[in-house]
Protein backbone atom coordinates (compact mmCIF):
# COMPACT_ATOMS: atom_id res chain seq x y z
CA UNK A 1 0.00 0.00 0.00
CA UNK A 2 1.40 3.30 -0.99
CA UNK A 3 1.56 6.68 0.57
CA UNK A 4 2.30 10.15 -0.86
CA UNK A 5 3.01 8.95 -4.39
CA UNK A 6 2.05 12.27 -5.84
CA UNK A 7 4.57 14.27 -3.80
CA UNK A 8 7.36 14.00 -6.34
CA UNK A 9 5.18 15.35 -9.14
CA UNK A 10 3.74 18.05 -6.90
CA UNK A 11 7.16 19.25 -5.71
CA UNK A 12 8.53 19.26 -9.22
CA UNK A 13 5.57 21.29 -10.44
CA UNK A 14 6.19 23.75 -7.63
CA UNK A 15 9.74 24.51 -8.76
CA UNK A 16 9.45 24.20 -12.53
CA UNK A 17 8.33 26.81 -15.03
CA UNK A 18 4.57 27.28 -15.21
CA UNK A 19 2.88 25.15 -17.85
CA UNK A 20 0.19 27.74 -18.43
CA UNK A 21 0.32 29.77 -21.60
CA UNK A 22 -0.25 33.40 -20.78
CA UNK A 23 -2.65 33.50 -23.69
CA UNK A 24 -4.22 36.91 -24.14
CA UNK A 25 -0.91 38.65 -23.33
CA UNK A 26 1.33 36.32 -25.30
CA UNK A 27 0.04 35.63 -28.79
CA UNK A 28 -0.50 32.04 -29.84
CA UNK A 29 2.05 30.61 -32.22
CA UNK A 30 0.37 28.52 -34.85
CA UNK A 31 1.78 25.43 -36.45
CA UNK A 32 2.64 26.04 -40.06
CA UNK A 33 0.01 23.78 -41.58
CA UNK A 34 -2.73 24.14 -39.00
CA UNK A 35 -6.19 24.35 -40.53
CA UNK A 36 -7.76 27.61 -39.40
CA UNK A 37 -9.69 29.37 -42.12
CA UNK A 38 -10.06 29.29 -45.88
CA UNK A 39 -8.23 32.00 -47.83
CA UNK A 40 -9.59 32.90 -51.23
CA UNK A 41 -7.39 34.34 -53.96
CA UNK A 42 -9.61 35.65 -56.71
CA UNK A 43 -6.96 36.25 -59.38
CA UNK A 44 -7.05 32.72 -60.79
CA UNK A 45 -10.59 31.73 -59.91
CA UNK A 46 -12.66 30.48 -62.82
CA UNK A 47 -15.87 30.21 -60.74
CA UNK A 48 -16.28 26.52 -61.55
CA UNK A 49 -18.10 26.04 -58.22
CA UNK A 50 -16.33 22.75 -57.57
CA UNK A 51 -15.47 23.97 -54.07
CA UNK A 52 -19.14 24.65 -53.35
CA UNK A 53 -20.12 21.16 -54.51
CA UNK A 54 -17.37 19.48 -52.50
CA UNK A 55 -18.11 21.34 -49.26
CA UNK A 56 -19.67 18.90 -46.75
CA UNK A 57 -21.24 21.76 -44.82
CA UNK A 58 -22.52 23.80 -47.79
CA UNK A 59 -20.72 26.88 -46.54
CA UNK A 60 -19.46 28.08 -49.92
CA UNK A 61 -21.65 29.68 -52.56
CA UNK A 62 -20.37 30.51 -56.03
CA UNK A 63 -22.26 32.58 -58.56
CA UNK A 64 -20.83 31.96 -61.98
CA UNK A 65 -22.72 34.75 -63.75
CA UNK A 66 -22.16 37.47 -61.18
CA UNK A 67 -18.62 36.19 -60.61
CA UNK A 68 -18.83 36.19 -56.84
CA UNK A 69 -17.42 33.71 -54.36
CA UNK A 70 -18.87 33.79 -50.87
CA UNK A 71 -18.33 31.83 -47.69
CA UNK A 72 -20.36 31.63 -44.52
CA UNK A 73 -17.61 31.62 -41.88
CA UNK A 74 -20.09 30.38 -39.30
CA UNK A 75 -20.71 27.30 -41.42
CA UNK A 76 -17.21 26.34 -42.49
CA UNK A 77 -15.86 23.26 -40.69
CA UNK A 78 -12.25 23.71 -41.87
CA UNK A 79 -11.96 20.29 -43.46
CA UNK A 80 -9.98 21.84 -46.36
CA UNK A 81 -11.83 19.64 -48.85
CA UNK A 82 -12.40 22.69 -51.05
CA UNK A 83 -8.66 23.41 -51.04
CA UNK A 84 -7.98 19.92 -52.39
CA UNK A 85 -10.80 20.20 -54.93
CA UNK A 86 -9.83 23.57 -56.42
CA UNK A 87 -8.43 23.00 -59.95
CA UNK A 88 -6.76 26.44 -60.07
CA UNK A 89 -5.26 26.29 -56.56
CA UNK A 90 -6.72 29.63 -55.57
CA UNK A 91 -7.92 28.37 -52.20
CA UNK A 92 -5.59 27.79 -49.27
CA UNK A 93 -5.80 27.27 -45.52
CA UNK A 94 -4.56 29.90 -43.09
CA UNK A 95 -3.54 28.77 -39.61
CA UNK A 96 -5.53 31.39 -37.65
CA UNK A 97 -9.14 30.89 -36.77
CA UNK A 98 -11.89 33.31 -37.67
CA UNK A 99 -12.13 35.73 -34.74
CA UNK A 100 -15.16 35.59 -32.46
CA UNK A 101 -18.23 37.30 -33.87
CA UNK A 102 -21.30 38.92 -32.47
CA UNK A 103 -23.34 38.27 -35.57
CA UNK A 104 -23.13 35.71 -38.31
CA UNK A 105 -22.46 37.07 -41.74
CA UNK A 106 -21.57 35.97 -45.22
CA UNK A 107 -18.26 37.07 -46.70
CA UNK A 108 -18.52 37.81 -50.42
CA UNK A 109 -15.63 38.32 -52.77
CA UNK A 110 -16.58 39.92 -56.07
CA UNK A 111 -14.62 39.84 -59.28
CA UNK A 112 -13.67 43.52 -59.59
CA UNK A 113 -10.78 44.02 -57.13
CA UNK A 114 -11.69 47.52 -55.93
CA UNK A 115 -15.25 46.38 -55.35
CA UNK A 116 -14.31 43.79 -52.74
CA UNK A 117 -16.67 43.97 -49.85
CA UNK A 118 -16.54 42.22 -46.54
CA UNK A 119 -19.96 41.97 -45.06
Amino acid sequence: MGFAEFTKTAVRNLFSKPATKNYPKVKKEFFENARGHVIFDETDCIYCSLCARKCPADAIKVDRNAKTWSIVRAGCVQCSNCVDACPKKCLSMGPEYTPVMTEKGCETYARVPDNTEDN
Binding site: M1, G2, F3, E5, K8, R12, N13, P56, N81
Partner: protein
Protein backbone atom coordinates in the same frame (compact mmCIF):
# COMPACT_ATOMS: atom_id res chain seq x y z
CA UNK B 1 -38.14 -0.48 6.21
CA UNK B 2 -36.21 1.63 3.76
CA UNK B 3 -37.88 4.26 1.66
CA UNK B 4 -37.81 4.26 -2.10
CA UNK B 5 -37.09 7.40 -3.99
CA UNK B 6 -36.15 8.30 -7.54
CA UNK B 7 -33.24 10.62 -8.19
CA UNK B 8 -33.00 12.10 -11.67
CA UNK B 9 -29.39 12.27 -12.84
CA UNK B 10 -28.59 14.51 -15.80
CA UNK B 11 -28.75 15.66 -18.57
CA UNK B 12 -27.08 18.77 -17.18
CA UNK B 13 -25.14 17.71 -14.13
CA UNK B 14 -21.83 19.01 -12.74
CA UNK B 15 -20.09 15.63 -12.85
CA UNK B 16 -21.46 14.63 -16.23
CA UNK B 17 -19.43 15.75 -19.18
CA UNK B 18 -22.15 14.68 -21.55
CA UNK B 19 -25.92 14.70 -21.61
CA UNK B 20 -27.41 11.40 -20.57
CA UNK B 21 -30.34 11.03 -18.27
CA UNK B 22 -30.56 8.30 -15.65
CA UNK B 23 -33.46 7.74 -13.32
CA UNK B 24 -31.89 6.17 -10.26
CA UNK B 25 -34.30 4.25 -8.07
CA UNK B 26 -32.88 4.40 -4.56
CA UNK B 27 -33.50 2.55 -1.36
CA UNK B 28 -32.00 4.94 1.16
CA UNK B 29 -28.58 5.56 -0.39
CA UNK B 30 -28.40 2.32 -2.35
CA UNK B 31 -29.30 2.17 -6.02
CA UNK B 32 -31.73 -0.61 -6.83
CA UNK B 33 -32.42 0.20 -10.43
CA UNK B 34 -31.20 2.58 -13.08
CA UNK B 35 -33.35 3.56 -16.02
CA UNK B 36 -31.51 5.40 -18.77
CA UNK B 37 -33.13 7.68 -21.25
CA UNK B 38 -31.11 8.87 -24.18
CA UNK B 39 -31.69 11.00 -27.22
CA UNK B 40 -30.20 14.31 -26.16
CA UNK B 41 -27.39 14.04 -28.68
CA UNK B 42 -29.23 12.26 -31.46
CA UNK B 43 -28.59 14.04 -34.75
CA UNK B 44 -29.53 11.39 -37.28
CA UNK B 45 -26.31 11.50 -39.22
CA UNK B 46 -26.75 8.00 -40.64
CA UNK B 47 -29.54 9.35 -42.82
CA UNK B 48 -27.24 12.11 -44.06
CA UNK B 49 -25.37 9.52 -46.09
CA UNK B 50 -28.11 9.81 -48.71
CA UNK B 51 -27.42 13.50 -49.21
CA UNK B 52 -23.62 13.59 -49.18
CA UNK B 53 -21.26 12.07 -51.70
CA UNK B 54 -19.40 9.08 -50.33
CA UNK B 55 -16.07 10.93 -50.50
CA UNK B 56 -17.42 13.86 -48.51
CA UNK B 57 -19.18 11.72 -45.95
CA UNK B 58 -15.79 11.00 -44.35
CA UNK B 59 -15.98 14.46 -42.80
CA UNK B 60 -19.39 13.70 -41.36
CA UNK B 61 -18.30 10.26 -40.13
CA UNK B 62 -15.37 11.88 -38.35
CA UNK B 63 -17.70 14.14 -36.48
CA UNK B 64 -19.67 11.26 -34.97
CA UNK B 65 -17.43 11.78 -31.99
CA UNK B 66 -14.69 14.26 -31.29
CA UNK B 67 -12.62 11.99 -29.08
CA UNK B 68 -12.21 9.00 -31.37
CA UNK B 69 -12.78 10.96 -34.55
CA UNK B 70 -9.85 9.47 -36.41
CA UNK B 71 -11.03 5.90 -35.90
CA UNK B 72 -14.53 6.80 -37.08
CA UNK B 73 -13.09 8.26 -40.25
CA UNK B 74 -10.77 5.37 -40.92
CA UNK B 75 -13.44 2.77 -40.12
CA UNK B 76 -15.76 4.32 -42.68
CA UNK B 77 -12.96 4.62 -45.26
CA UNK B 78 -11.95 1.00 -44.74
CA UNK B 79 -15.49 -0.14 -45.46
CA UNK B 80 -15.79 1.92 -48.64
CA UNK B 81 -12.33 0.84 -49.78
CA UNK B 82 -13.26 -2.81 -49.25
CA UNK B 83 -16.42 -2.41 -51.34
CA UNK B 84 -14.52 -0.72 -54.16
CA UNK B 85 -11.52 -3.09 -53.94
CA UNK B 86 -9.13 -0.21 -53.39
CA UNK B 87 -5.71 -1.18 -52.14
CA UNK B 88 -4.30 1.73 -50.16
CA UNK B 89 -0.53 2.34 -50.20
CA UNK B 90 1.42 0.75 -47.32
CA UNK B 91 2.65 4.12 -46.08
CA UNK B 92 -0.94 5.29 -45.69
CA UNK B 93 -1.68 2.17 -43.66
CA UNK B 94 1.17 2.95 -41.31
CA UNK B 95 0.16 6.60 -41.01
CA UNK B 96 -3.38 5.52 -40.14
CA UNK B 97 -1.97 3.22 -37.47
CA UNK B 98 0.16 5.99 -35.99
CA UNK B 99 -2.72 8.46 -35.82
CA UNK B 100 -5.07 5.82 -34.45
CA UNK B 101 -2.65 4.99 -31.64
CA UNK B 102 -2.07 8.67 -30.89
CA UNK B 103 -5.84 9.12 -30.57
CA UNK B 104 -5.93 6.16 -28.24
CA UNK B 105 -3.32 7.85 -26.07
CA UNK B 106 -5.20 11.14 -26.08
CA UNK B 107 -8.45 9.42 -25.24
CA UNK B 108 -6.98 7.34 -22.42
CA UNK B 109 -5.20 10.33 -20.88
CA UNK B 110 -8.45 12.25 -21.05
CA UNK B 111 -10.27 9.38 -19.42
CA UNK B 112 -7.70 8.92 -16.65
CA UNK B 113 -8.06 12.62 -15.90
CA UNK B 114 -11.84 12.44 -15.77
CA UNK B 115 -11.65 9.38 -13.52
CA UNK B 116 -9.30 11.22 -11.17
CA UNK B 117 -11.78 14.09 -11.13
CA UNK B 118 -14.62 11.67 -10.37
CA UNK B 119 -12.90 10.24 -7.32
CA UNK B 120 -11.92 13.71 -6.19
CA UNK B 121 -8.22 13.88 -7.03
CA UNK B 122 -8.17 17.28 -8.70
CA UNK B 123 -4.41 17.65 -9.17
CA UNK B 124 -4.15 14.25 -10.84
CA UNK B 125 -6.87 15.33 -13.26
CA UNK B 126 -4.89 18.45 -14.12
CA UNK B 127 -1.69 16.45 -14.53
CA UNK B 128 -3.28 13.99 -16.96
CA UNK B 129 -4.80 16.75 -19.06
CA UNK B 130 -1.50 18.57 -19.09
CA UNK B 131 0.17 15.50 -20.58
CA UNK B 132 -2.66 15.15 -23.05
CA UNK B 133 -1.98 18.61 -24.47
CA UNK B 134 1.36 17.35 -25.77
CA UNK B 135 -0.44 14.68 -27.78
CA UNK B 136 -2.80 17.35 -29.11
CA UNK B 137 0.21 19.43 -30.17
CA UNK B 138 1.46 16.44 -32.17
CA UNK B 139 -1.95 16.28 -33.83
CA UNK B 140 -1.94 19.95 -34.70
CA UNK B 141 1.56 19.71 -36.07
CA UNK B 142 0.89 16.68 -38.27
CA UNK B 143 -2.77 16.97 -39.23
CA UNK B 144 -3.65 20.62 -38.76
CA UNK B 145 -6.46 20.05 -36.27
CA UNK B 146 -6.40 19.55 -32.54
CA UNK B 147 -9.50 17.42 -32.21
CA UNK B 148 -10.98 16.79 -35.64
CA UNK B 149 -8.17 15.80 -37.97
CA UNK B 150 -9.76 15.43 -41.42
CA UNK B 151 -6.73 13.51 -42.69
CA UNK B 152 -8.38 10.25 -43.64
CA UNK B 153 -9.89 9.92 -47.07
CA UNK B 154 -11.17 7.13 -49.25
CA UNK B 155 -8.00 5.80 -50.87
CA UNK B 156 -5.44 6.75 -48.26
CA UNK B 157 -4.58 9.76 -46.14
CA UNK B 158 -4.28 13.44 -47.00
CA UNK B 159 -1.13 14.38 -45.16
CA UNK B 160 2.27 12.85 -44.68
CA UNK B 161 4.51 12.86 -41.64
CA UNK B 162 8.08 13.77 -42.58
CA UNK B 163 10.96 11.88 -40.98
CA UNK B 164 11.97 15.02 -39.05
CA UNK B 165 8.47 15.33 -37.61
CA UNK B 166 8.48 11.62 -36.82
CA UNK B 167 11.67 12.05 -34.79
CA UNK B 168 10.13 14.98 -32.97
CA UNK B 169 7.03 12.91 -32.21
CA UNK B 170 9.16 10.11 -30.74
CA UNK B 171 10.97 12.57 -28.45
CA UNK B 172 7.66 14.02 -27.27
CA UNK B 173 6.33 10.51 -26.63
CA UNK B 174 9.44 9.75 -24.56
CA UNK B 175 8.80 12.79 -22.37
CA UNK B 176 5.17 11.73 -21.96
CA UNK B 177 6.26 8.26 -20.85
CA UNK B 178 8.79 9.74 -18.43
CA UNK B 179 6.17 12.02 -16.88
CA UNK B 180 3.58 9.27 -16.80
CA UNK B 181 6.00 6.97 -14.96
CA UNK B 182 6.19 9.64 -12.24
CA UNK B 183 2.58 9.51 -11.32
CA UNK B 184 1.41 6.11 -12.53
CA UNK B 185 2.08 4.84 -9.01
CA UNK B 186 -0.77 7.03 -7.83
CA UNK B 187 -3.11 4.91 -9.90
CA UNK B 188 -1.26 1.68 -9.10
CA UNK B 189 -0.92 1.77 -5.33
CA UNK B 190 -2.28 4.88 -3.69
CA UNK B 191 -4.53 4.03 -0.74
CA UNK B 192 -7.28 6.52 -1.47
CA UNK B 193 -7.42 5.63 -5.13
CA UNK B 194 -7.56 1.93 -4.37
CA UNK B 195 -10.28 2.36 -1.78
CA UNK B 196 -12.45 4.10 -4.38
CA UNK B 197 -11.74 1.69 -7.23
CA UNK B 198 -11.04 -1.81 -5.89
CA UNK B 199 -14.06 -4.06 -5.73
CA UNK B 200 -16.41 -1.41 -7.13
CA UNK B 201 -18.58 -2.31 -10.10
CA UNK B 202 -17.35 -5.88 -10.45
CA UNK B 203 -18.32 -7.61 -13.67
CA UNK B 204 -17.45 -11.29 -14.02
CA UNK B 205 -16.22 -12.80 -17.26
CA UNK B 206 -19.51 -14.65 -17.75
CA UNK B 207 -21.53 -11.49 -17.17
CA UNK B 208 -19.45 -9.60 -19.74
CA UNK B 209 -19.96 -12.33 -22.32
CA UNK B 210 -23.68 -12.30 -21.59
CA UNK B 211 -23.93 -8.50 -21.91
CA UNK B 212 -21.65 -8.29 -24.92
CA UNK B 213 -19.39 -5.57 -23.57
CA UNK B 214 -16.31 -4.62 -25.55
CA UNK B 215 -12.99 -2.86 -25.22
CA UNK B 216 -11.27 -2.12 -21.91
CA UNK B 217 -14.42 -3.13 -20.02
CA UNK B 218 -14.19 -6.65 -21.46
CA UNK B 219 -10.40 -6.76 -21.18
CA UNK B 220 -10.64 -5.70 -17.54
CA UNK B 221 -12.61 -8.88 -16.88
CA UNK B 222 -10.09 -11.11 -18.57
CA UNK B 223 -11.49 -11.43 -22.08
CA UNK B 224 -8.97 -11.22 -24.89
CA UNK B 225 -10.98 -9.04 -27.20
CA UNK B 226 -9.07 -6.61 -29.35
CA UNK B 227 -10.03 -5.81 -32.93
CA UNK B 228 -6.49 -4.73 -33.69
CA UNK B 229 -5.70 -8.44 -33.83
CA UNK B 230 -7.74 -8.55 -37.05
CA UNK B 231 -4.79 -6.82 -38.65
CA UNK B 232 -6.52 -3.89 -40.31
CA UNK B 233 -4.37 -0.91 -41.34
CA UNK B 234 -0.79 -1.85 -40.47
CA UNK B 235 -1.54 -3.72 -37.25
CA UNK B 236 -0.72 -7.05 -38.88
CA UNK B 237 2.84 -5.85 -39.49
CA UNK B 238 3.49 -4.81 -35.89
CA UNK B 239 4.30 -7.50 -33.35
CA UNK B 240 3.47 -5.42 -30.26
CA UNK B 241 -0.29 -5.71 -30.71
CA UNK B 242 -1.27 -8.07 -27.92
CA UNK B 243 -4.47 -7.44 -25.97
CA UNK B 244 -3.78 -6.26 -22.45
CA UNK B 245 -5.95 -8.02 -19.92
CA UNK B 246 -6.68 -7.85 -16.22
CA UNK B 247 -8.80 -10.39 -14.45
CA UNK B 248 -10.38 -8.62 -11.47
CA UNK B 249 -13.23 -7.04 -13.46
CA UNK B 250 -13.65 -4.05 -11.16
CA UNK B 251 -13.10 -0.33 -11.76
CA UNK B 252 -9.47 -0.72 -10.73
CA UNK B 253 -8.84 -3.39 -13.38
CA UNK B 254 -10.41 -1.24 -16.09
CA UNK B 255 -8.23 1.64 -15.01
CA UNK B 256 -5.08 -0.49 -15.15
CA UNK B 257 -5.95 -1.80 -18.60
CA UNK B 258 -6.15 1.72 -19.94
CA UNK B 259 -3.00 2.83 -18.16
CA UNK B 260 -1.01 -0.08 -19.56
CA UNK B 261 -2.46 0.48 -23.02
CA UNK B 262 -0.91 3.93 -22.98
CA UNK B 263 2.55 2.37 -22.82
CA UNK B 264 1.56 -0.17 -25.44
CA UNK B 265 0.45 2.58 -27.80
CA UNK B 266 3.82 4.29 -27.47
CA UNK B 267 5.51 0.98 -28.33
CA UNK B 268 3.25 0.51 -31.37
CA UNK B 269 3.91 4.03 -32.63
CA UNK B 270 7.65 3.54 -32.25
CA UNK B 271 7.52 0.21 -34.07
CA UNK B 272 5.38 1.70 -36.84
CA UNK B 273 7.71 4.67 -37.22
CA UNK B 274 10.76 2.46 -37.59
CA UNK B 275 9.22 0.10 -40.14
CA UNK B 276 7.20 2.63 -42.13
CA UNK B 277 7.99 2.32 -45.85
CA UNK B 278 8.47 5.30 -48.13
CA UNK B 279 6.10 5.97 -50.98
CA UNK B 280 2.74 7.34 -51.95
CA UNK B 281 0.16 8.20 -49.33
CA UNK B 282 -3.01 7.87 -51.38
CA UNK B 283 -4.36 6.36 -54.56
CA UNK B 284 -6.90 7.90 -56.89
CA UNK B 285 -10.33 6.40 -56.46
CA UNK B 286 -12.65 6.29 -59.42
CA UNK B 287 -16.15 4.94 -59.76
CA UNK B 288 -18.85 4.50 -57.17
CA UNK B 289 -19.25 1.88 -54.47
CA UNK B 290 -21.63 -0.95 -55.24
CA UNK B 291 -22.02 -3.62 -52.60
CA UNK B 292 -21.91 -3.90 -48.84
CA UNK B 293 -19.29 -4.39 -46.19
CA UNK B 294 -18.86 -4.60 -42.46
CA UNK B 295 -15.65 -3.13 -41.12
CA UNK B 296 -14.51 -3.37 -37.53
CA UNK B 297 -11.96 -1.20 -35.80
CA UNK B 298 -10.73 -1.01 -32.25
CA UNK B 299 -11.47 2.38 -30.77
CA UNK B 300 -10.15 3.58 -27.43
CA UNK B 301 -13.48 2.48 -25.98
CA UNK B 302 -13.69 -0.86 -27.73
CA UNK B 303 -14.89 -2.39 -30.92
CA UNK B 304 -16.81 -0.25 -33.37
CA UNK B 305 -18.39 -1.73 -36.46
CA UNK B 306 -19.40 0.11 -39.59
CA UNK B 307 -21.87 -1.20 -42.13
CA UNK B 308 -21.83 0.48 -45.52
CA UNK B 309 -24.04 -0.33 -48.47
CA UNK B 310 -23.60 1.34 -51.82
CA UNK B 311 -25.89 1.13 -54.84
CA UNK B 312 -23.58 2.18 -57.66
CA UNK B 313 -24.28 5.89 -57.33
CA UNK B 314 -22.13 8.44 -55.57
CA UNK B 315 -24.61 8.50 -52.70
CA UNK B 316 -24.51 5.51 -50.39
CA UNK B 317 -27.69 3.68 -49.55
CA UNK B 318 -27.11 2.88 -45.92
CA UNK B 319 -24.53 3.59 -43.29
CA UNK B 320 -24.74 2.10 -39.86
CA UNK B 321 -22.33 2.41 -37.00
CA UNK B 322 -22.39 0.37 -33.82
CA UNK B 323 -20.24 2.20 -31.32
CA UNK B 324 -18.50 0.69 -28.28
CA UNK B 325 -20.43 2.73 -25.74
CA UNK B 326 -23.68 1.32 -27.07
CA UNK B 327 -22.38 -2.17 -26.31
CA UNK B 328 -21.05 -1.10 -22.92
CA UNK B 329 -24.22 0.62 -21.71
CA UNK B 330 -25.61 -2.80 -20.78
CA UNK B 331 -22.57 -3.41 -18.62
CA UNK B 332 -23.06 -0.04 -16.97
CA UNK B 333 -26.68 -0.76 -16.11
CA UNK B 334 -25.62 -4.13 -14.70
CA UNK B 335 -23.08 -2.52 -12.34
CA UNK B 336 -25.35 0.22 -11.01
CA UNK B 337 -27.87 -1.77 -8.91
CA UNK B 338 -26.48 -2.31 -5.45
CA UNK B 339 -23.95 0.51 -5.50
CA UNK B 340 -24.00 3.67 -3.42
CA UNK B 341 -25.35 6.85 -4.94
CA UNK B 342 -21.95 8.50 -4.42
CA UNK B 343 -20.29 5.85 -6.59
CA UNK B 344 -22.60 6.43 -9.56
CA UNK B 345 -20.48 9.09 -11.32
CA UNK B 346 -17.46 6.84 -11.12
CA UNK B 347 -19.26 3.77 -12.39
CA UNK B 348 -20.65 5.81 -15.27
CA UNK B 349 -17.14 6.92 -16.05
CA UNK B 350 -15.38 3.56 -15.93
CA UNK B 351 -17.12 2.34 -19.05
CA UNK B 352 -15.80 5.56 -20.64
CA UNK B 353 -19.17 6.61 -21.99
CA UNK B 354 -19.27 8.55 -25.21
CA UNK B 355 -22.86 9.57 -25.61
CA UNK B 356 -22.45 11.39 -28.89
CA UNK B 357 -21.05 8.18 -30.40
CA UNK B 358 -23.91 6.15 -29.03
CA UNK B 359 -26.68 8.38 -30.25
CA UNK B 360 -25.05 9.54 -33.47
Amino acid sequence: MSRRSIVPFGPQHPVLPEPIHLDLVLEDERVVEAIPSIGFVHRGLEKLVEKREYTEYVYVAERICGICSFQHGSGYCQAVEAIMNVEIPPRAEFLRTIWAELSRMHSHLLWLGLLADAFGFESLFMQCWRLRERVLDIFEMTTGGRVIFSVCKVGGVRRDISSDDMKRIITVLDTIVADLKDFERVFFDNNTVKSRLCGVGVLSKEKILELGAVGPVARGSGIKLDMRKLGYAAYDKIPQVEPIIETAGDCYARCLVRLRELYQSVEIIKAAASTMPEGEISVKVTGNPNGEFFSRVEQPRGEASYYVRGNGTKFLERFRVRTPTFANLGALLATLPGCDLADVPMLVLTIDPCISCTER
